[in-house]
Symmetry: C2
Subunit: 214 residues, 2 copies
Amino acid sequence: MQLFSFFSSSTAFRVRIALALKGVSYEYRAVNLRAGEQHQQAFLDRNPSGGVPVLVDGDVSLGQSLAILDYLDSRYPEPRLTPADPILRARVLELVNVIACDIHPVNNLRVQLYLKNILGVTEEQKNIWYRHWVEQGFDIVECLLARQDDAPYCFGNQPTLADCCLVPQVWSAARAGCDIAAYPRIDRIYRHCMAQPAFIQAAPEQQADAPQQT
Amino acid sequence: MQLFSFFSSSTAFRVRIALALKGVSYEYRAVNLRAGEQHQQAFLDRNPSGGVPVLVDGDVSLGQSLAILDYLDSRYPEPRLTPADPILRARVLELVNVIACDIHPVNNLRVQLYLKNILGVTEEQKNIWYRHWVEQGFDIVECLLARQDDAPYCFGNQPTLADCCLVPQVWSAARAGCDIAAYPRIDRIYRHCMAQPAFIQAAPEQQADAPQQT
């Protein structure tokens, strides 16, 4: 199994966490997004979306982190990252999609480049945009977490897809200067996760393509 | 069962298609997004995200269209909208997420309002932005569809979640002036779907809150 990844991509980070939790070994294939390697034809043939992550499993080459996470959960069911209980499963996917649809897409690299290069917004305006969507999204995540009993992970004592998605989003937001302490439940879960071996192993700083100081 | 919906919301349209395909009857609860009804506290208590769709099934109140679609597919398994075969399932979810993560979020109402009200972009710039993400996304969808044999639906002879997501995105894009004929596979599948009773029943124009001419 191969994972095409970039150390600081939060969607690749999601998949690395799932692979680490499941103890699946894989070949790490770095795609330097800053150097534009995702736009090379050989990579586009693999993934027309031109982004990471891409999972290659035998003949299957699969893009889109949420599709990859679902695939891994059926291919390697232990530990299961989507609960079997239908209502809990729905709650997990609700939180996952707040992050994957409402926060991440409006702040990713291609949108930031459009804002800067096509609309000519200033660096300050771009940073305000970024924080706006993170803050609006994290307010919602806090509300959803408040519906659950406090627990080490988003939904109880075991990690789920919600933690696989939340942790990379918090990592990116903190790096962009967002005040994570303003979201006590998110902050607590993030700190707990980032003390666990699988999350540490998956972290951007631990990847082969990470600069020595990030 | 109740569905909080707005006639022209493409994410609510996704869920209406699934409900119609499965023959599930439900109470239609209109939330007028143009009048800001999604920001009222009673609605936010139901869905902290402050958007539609929201599905209410007994004690469960669930936001996020993809979480709702997954829930409906386990609650009402016939007809199944996510294939049982793991690789085909992954392909369906890959296409679903191109639409749900890469196209829709950057063009939805809240982003359009931010562009206009906070960044002060012109109507023309906003339209170019909209078309840019649709065109980039539809190019990718065409590539993914080209990997399959031609068929009435995105993946074969039966509708899947991919059709539930593609059709509303095409409906919105066509309404915004995008040239759908430039994407022959998408165009063909859209026309086929929109001739089927479940898709017709779910269409914006058929909803109780649709103006007589939309």
